[in-house]
Amino acid sequence: MSTAESFPTRLTELEVARLRADFPVLEQKFHGRPLAYLDNANTTQKPRAVIDAESHFYATDYAGVHRAVYELAERATRAYEAGREAMRRFLHARDVHEIVLLRGTTEAINLVASSFTRAHVAPGDEILITEMEHHSNIVPWQLACEASGARLVVAPIDDRGELVLDALEGMIGPRTRMVAVVHVSNALGTLNPVREIAEIAHARGVPVLVDGAQSAPHMPIDVQALGCDFFALSGHKMYGPSGIGALWGRRELLEALPPWQGGGAMIESVAFEKTTYGPIPSRFEAGTPNIAGAVGLAAAVEYLEAIGLERIASHEQQLLAWATEAVREIPGLTVIGTAAEKAGVLSFVMDCAHPHDVATILDREGVAVRAGHHCAQPVMQRFGVPATVRASFGLYNTREDVDALVAGLRTVVEVFR
């Protein structure tokens, strides 16, 4: 799908250099070195366009949304709703009412897990997830299972970190009510065949939720082509602000969901005897939302659209290929997650040093990586490691960043072996 070959129009070195200049944080030095920020699967840095959009909005257009009649409030409402429209465009959704603006992927999954289960899940029913899920696509379903008496079923992954599709298919039974699957694994980088999974599940009449936190900023997303029913994503992983993200859901499925949180903005009318709820998506947006966050999110979408998601994907595939090749030269290093289809995530362990020690040494060389279980403890257990080091790429990373990573790993070997 997103291999380098499919997108010959890769970003040039010059373009990446220009893009880097859009990110003020990259101008800094750490421990006397330029910053090689390789923790993009955790969160991404912000371009000036996003920072300025939020700041400008607060300075000129800020007011409460959806309530007041004065002009300033209308401007704020328009700006907020433009964030929703940007998300629709970004996801290639049909209908802007299918976009619920929320805090992020975690909140989006919690919403579906809670509301869907209340409406459609009975004791003895099953929710099917996979072994490579982030905790945010495990724990909400465990809570929902506890509340409903349903059972959590887990589809296995193989030694390369690929989903065992046949096993998943065999686990979809008459009691399966939902298949919830990650698009790209944050710990392994595996790109899951979501379209195929949706076809398999739909053949049995089961809806599919996709955790898109790790895929959205790294490849073009078309929810209609993917064929899923819910898609959750986070603004902060796509160069937008933290605290804003979205849930996309098929209109008829969203309309069949009961409200999640109660409060202002989500109602039609309130009386002590009976309250009626508003239409989608406002039914799921109780309380004053992250208004400026939506404005920043729209700016992030525009920024990514101007570059082109295909070209970003291609650039990151190149970085991944370089890094994967280069770390083969490091003695005692094992890559965890070697799926055929991967996004820009390189997870590994070293026989001489614990991931924490590796990350500390890399930090002193200006290289920012994540060390730990990546909120995916079942993945760590599957591979028999307590933690991994993870380098993850973004649009502003360069060959020099990969070289800095490899040089840092040589220092680790020097210190520890």
Binding site: A353, H354, P355, H356, D357, T360, I361, R364, A371, G372, H373, Q377, M380, P386, A387, T411, V415, F416
Partner: protein, 151 residues
């Protein structure tokens, strides 16, 4: 590199690669577990207390060089100490690695072998690694068998 060498001194690497007292002591009558939920580090610390003294101390678990070396050094240093003496060592050690106040040479020297871990001061993100085993020991000495967390 000098700060890294300071952090990863030969003694620390030695205790990381060959941790001392890496076992459950015979007749252990205290156990506590320490976890760092951020990184998944997990350690078990056992003690055999006789007449208010730590007759034997051991540990098992998985962790980084800093947490493993700190646990290993700890088991050597607190052995044969009274509970209060062990707690006092932890307090001094914590003060040094937290680096809140100026540490003088005498204070460093009072840490004995633990002085090799003083380099952690320059790495605030790693202080929890250095203190994990100590928090577990403290819980074990309290007699509570609950799991302690660095959070």
């Amino acid at each position: 590199m000098s700060e890294l060498r300071e952090l990863y001194q030969t003694v620390i690497l030695d205790h990381y690669k060959k941790p001392r007292n890496y076992r459950k002591p015979e007749g252990a009558n205290r156990l506590a577990e320490g976890r760092n939920p951020l990184c998944g580090d997990h350690i078990k610390v056992w003690a055999r207390i006789e007449d208010d003294r730590l007759a034997d101390v051991g540990f098992e678990g998985s962790g980084c060089a800093i947490s493993t070396a700190s646990a290993s050094l700890m088991t050597e240093i607190v052995k044969a100490k009274t509970r209060d003496e062990a707690r006092a060592i932890f307090t001094r050690f914590r003060d040094v690695v937290l680096g809140g106040q100026q540490v003088d040479g005498a204070e460093l020297a009072s840490l004995g072998k633990l002085e090799v871990l003083a380099g952690v001061r320059e790495f605030p993100a790693r202080v929890k690694c250095a203190t994990l085993a100590w928090h577990a020991l403290e819980a074990a000495l309290e007699g509570s068998s609950e799991s302690v967390s660095t959070e």
